[in-house]
Symmetry: C2
Subunit: 335 residues, 2 copies
C-alpha cells in the first residue's frame, strides 16, 4: 500500500511499473529533435478529421492505441483511466474515450495533466494489485491557439515570451511491479499565483508552481537535484525554465546540468520558430512517453523527476483582469 509521507508526497510500496506507453505527434513535432522517438507521427495536423477538436481526439486515440499494442493490452484490460486536456470541457479526452467501456476519471490540470494523471494512476496501481491504470493527455496547436488566443489563420503576432502549443499526446499504463520504468513517489502540487497576467507568458506564470512542487518533493523525500539524472519540467519553455533555475539559485540550490524542460526539448529553437519553446499538455506527455520512458526502461536514465506544469489560464478571467494561477505535480520515475 502506498504511503502518505507528508505535505503532498506519496511513496509507492510495490514500485508499480509503467508497463506500456505510447506517443503520437503532428508533423512539426515529428520534424523536431525528438522526431524519431515518437510512436506515431502524422503527415498533417488533421489526423484525418474535419475539425481541430476532433483531430485532437483522434491524436489521443493514436497514443492510447500505441500504448495498448506495445503492452499487449486491450481497452478491456484497463481498470481505470485518468485523462484530461486543455480544451473546454476536456473534449479531447471525453470524445476519445466515448463508448469504449473504460472506467474514466476526468482531470483538469492544464499542462500539468500528464503528471497528475500518472500520479493518480500510479497510486491506484500501487494500492490495487492486478489493475491497469491509464494516464493520458493531449494538446493540439490549432485547437488550443483558437481557444486561448487567436485562430491560426488570423496570423497574430507572437511576442518572444510566447510558447508554441505542441500537437502531441502521450499515454502511460501503470500496473504491478514488472520491470522498469517504476514509479517511486509522487508529489501533488498547490495552486500558486504570483500575479502574472500576460496570456503570452505562461512560463512565468508556471515557474513558481514548479519551484514549490520540486522544493516540496526534495524536502519530503530528503533528496536533492544531485539524486536525479534528469529533472524534467514541462512546459516552462526557455523563459520559465530560466526563472525556475533563478528561484532555486536564490535558495543556494543549483538545479545543475541535469535539469531540462520538455518545452525546450521538443522543438529545434534554431530551425523551428517557436519563440520561448513548446507548451501544451501534449508536449510533456509526448516527451515523457516518446523519449524519456524508453531511456529509463533501458537504464540510460536511472532517476527521473518529472514535473509537468500547468497554467490554469482562463481567457474569461484574464479579460476580467485576473492573474493566472499555476500548478505542478511531480512523479519520480526510476530504473
Amino acid at each position: 500500500m502506498s504511503k502518505f509521507l507528508k505535505n503532498g508526497t506519496i511513496l509507492t510500496e510495490s514500485l508499480p511499473s509503467i508497463v506500456a506507453y505510447g506517443s503520437a505527434v503532428g508533423r512539426m513535432e515529428g520534424e523536431g529533435p525528438l522526431g524519431s522517438c515518437f510512436d506515431y507521427v502524422s503527415e498533417d495536423s488533421t489526423f484525418g478529421e474535419g475539425t481541430w477538436e476532433k483531430s485532437e481526439s483522434r491524436l489521443q486515440q493514436h497514443a492510447m492505441e500505441q500504448a495498448l499494442i506495445k503492452g499487449k493490452l486491450s481497452e478491456g484490460d484497463i481498470t481505470f483511466a485518468f485523462a484530461g486536456d486543455l480544451l473546454n470541457q476536456c473534449t479531447s479526452s471525453a470524445y476519445s474515450m466515448r463508448n469504449n467501456g473504460v472506467r474514466f476519471l476526468g482531470l483538469y490540470g492544464a499542462c500539468s495533466t500528464m503528471a497528475e494523471s500518472l500520479a493518480l494512476a500510479s497510486v491506484f496501481a500501487d494500492n490495487h494489485p492486478g489493475t491497469f491504470n491509464l494516464a493520458m493527455t493531449s494538446s493540439h496547436f490549432c485547437s488550443a491557439e483558437r481557444q486561448f488566443r487567436f485562430p491560426e489563420t488570423y496570423g497574430g503576432q507572437r511576442p518572444p515570451t510566447s510558447q508554441w502549443t505542441a500537437t502531441g499526446s502521450g499515454c502511460a499504463i501503470v500496473g504491478a511491479h514488472a520491470g522498469p520504468p517504476y514509479v517511486n513517489a509522487v508529489t501533488v502540487g498547490t495552486i500558486i499565483d504570483m500575479g502574472i497576467k500576460d496570456a503570452n507568458n505562461m512560463g512565468a506564470a508556471m515557474a513558481p508552481a514548479a519551484y514549490d512542487t520540486l522544493k516540496t518533493h526534495f524536502e519530503n523525500t530528503g533528496t536533492g537535484p544531485a539524486d536525479y539524472d534528469l529533472i524534467l519540467t514541462g512546459d516552462l519553455g526557455f523563459v520559465g525554465g530560466e526563472l525556475l533555475k533563478d528561484l532555486f539559485l536564490q535558495d543556494g540550490t543549483d538545479l545543475g546540468e541535469n535539469y531540462n524542460d520538455c518545452g525546450m526539448m521538443i522543438f529545434d529553437r534554431e530551425k523551428q520558430d517557436v519563440h520561448a519553446g513548446g507548451s501544451g499538455c501534449g508536449c510533456s506527455a509526448s516527451v515523457l512517453c516518446g523519449y524519456v520512458l524508453d531511456r529509463v526502461k533501458n537504464g540510460e536514465l536511472k532517476n527521473v523527476l518529472f514535473a509537468a506544469t500547468g497554467a490554469l489560464m482562463s481567457t474569461t478571467l484574464v479579460q476580467q483582469g485576473e492573474s493566472i494561477p499555476g500548478i505542478s505535480h511531480a512523479v519520480h520515475i526510476k530504473y
Copy 2:
C-alpha cells in the same frame, strides 16, 4: 486498504467517514424546498463579487469554510483536495483554492464532479489513514448559462426539457472511520453517448450513463434498489429521471419509491419556474452536503446510493454536429 472489486467498483475497508461537510447556495435555492438545510444562503447571486465567475469562486469558498468550521479543521489540515466545476478551465475551483497551500488535484466530470471527487477522496482516505481529503464542486446559474447557452440578460426562451443550473456548492471532507456518514463503496463510470445533440436536454444525454453506472454498481456489489433507502441521481431532472426509470423497467427492475434526483429536489416545480428541474455541479453537491448527509448522520437514512451525473457538453462540439457524452459515478454512503 480499499479493495478493487471488479468493473469499476472499489470497496473501502476502513469505512472512512465524511467527517465534515458544508453547503452554500444562492437566494433562489434558499427559497426552494431544501432552503433551510443549507449552511449558507446568499442574499443575491453576486456573493459580493463583480463578475459571475468570481461569484462562483466565492460561493465555493463559503461551502469549504462551512465544512472546515463544522469539522473544526483548517485548510492546513487538508491532505489532498479533489475539486472541479463546470466553467472552462475549472476556474471556480482554481481561483477558490489559489494560494491557500492545499495540495490540489483538479477534476473535470461536469455535473458528476461531486461523486467523482467524493469517490477519489474516499479511496484516498481509506488508503492513507490519518489524512483528510476534500471533495468539492460548484455551479452558478449566471456563469454557466452565459458559457453554455445565453447570457441571462439575453432573455432566451427555454424549452420544456431545459434544466435550471443551480447556484450552489458542496464540500465534503473524508477522513478516518469516526462515525457516520461512512463511505462503503464507489463505482466509477464510463463515458456513454447515445446520440443526444440537444444542448437543452441534458437529462436525456445523461440518463444512459446513470443507468450504466447504477446497474454496474448493483451487479458488482450484489445489491439491488431495495437495499438502499435512497437512490439519488443528480442532475437528471424530471425528463432524465423518467428515462432512467424506464431504462431500468426494460430490465424488469423497478427503482421504486426510494429513487429521487437532486434536480427534482432543489427547486419547487410549482412555484419556481425551472422547467425540467435543477442541474449543475452545485445542484447535487449542495443537495448532498446540505440535505442528505445530515440525514445519514442522524440515521434517518441508512444506505444512500449517490450517483451524480455529468453531461460532458461542449458548445464547440455541439456546433460541429457532435452528440453529447454523459458520465456518472456512484458512491454508497451508509449510516
